[in-house]
Symmetry: C2
Subunit: 185 residues, 2 copies
């Protein structure tokens, strides 16, 4: 029932945005009584933060499975595809609603700030692992950070219109840049 | 009076976010009567779209003036600083509120979509001009796109917490990458 509530929350954030996502809408979508919902999540804030956190973790597990099938050659391009896909996924658009709402809501920012930093750290560590590099060599650390800022920017661009074609050419040339610039371990 | 209304709108979007920005709040902040406001902007949508459009154009004029003082050596790093500054400015955070609201509001998206594409094209052309490169050479076009996606991603990261130090190191190493990778004209 917790999981159903969290899934309904992310769906509601994606379809209706922050303002349209109310605890009433979520309990209806999840088919859960108001009382049961309040038992699990006493407020909208508790619900949305838990939902974005849990589904981001689950999405990372999915990515891990995708990564197992990466070919040895052109591996970097495949890694970029996996990373970029995270930033055009429903849970990214749900998180975007949450981050933007938190910018002007101090109470929300108190829980969203630490969550955003944790997700940022974990995504960074995951990118390093996927690329199979040693972060302490050359500019590797900054290149990984730039890569994640890049795919975050691409995700934001994709939130308003279909940006698939442009994204593919940007990632192609970015993969070539990383191929030349990363210091292999 | 139009300008005062548009400035009050951007300030309100930055401080109160999309939901907190009402035509009443804006007319109070601007010190303009409701009637006069309705005469200039018949709806919240007309007001916010005009405000973000006008202030983005004005901000680009400011950037142009900054760019005149760029030194010849280490020019690329200076250009990156100017471009990145656009994406941590009040008008970017106001635009972010608008883009995100438009994602789940089809009516708003009809005016925001074309505006977002126009700003994107103009910022791209402006970046090419600042860098002083020929877009048709090598991967220059994709590198400029990647640069703008990168600074957009940095802007989003800066919306929740002070990210100044990390941003500087990412831009330092990105400038070095562009120095090596751009095909000079």
């Amino acid at each position: 029932m917790r999981l159903r509530l969290m899934e309904a929350t992310v769906e509601s954030l994606v379809e209706l945005g922050w303002a349209g996502t109310t605890t009433t809408v979520v309990s209806q979508r999840a088919g859960v009584s108001r009382g049961a919902q309040l038992h699990h999540f006493p407020s909208k804030q508790a619900l949305v933060v838990a939902a974005v956190e849990h589904l981001t973790d689950r999405r990372r597990d999915d990515m891990r499975r995708h990564a197992e099938g990466l070919p040895e050659d052109d591996r970097i391009r495949g890694v970029l595809e996996i990373l970029a896909a995270q930033f055009v996924s429903p849970v990214f658009f749900a998180a975007l609603e949450l981050w933007v709402a938190a910018r002007t809501d101090a109470g929300l920012r108190e829980s969203v700030g630490p969550l955003e930093r944790r997700i940022g750290r974990e995504t960074h560590a995951y990118a390093v692992e996927l690329l199979g590099i040693d972060e302490s060599r050359g500019d590797n650390r900054q290149l990984v950070q730039a890569t994640l800022d890049l795919v975050r920017g691409l995700g934001l661009a994709a939130s308003l219109s279909d940006d698939t074609k442009r994204r593919a050419t940007v990632l192609d040339s970015w993969a070539a840049v990383l191929e030349r610039e990363l210091d292999p371990s």
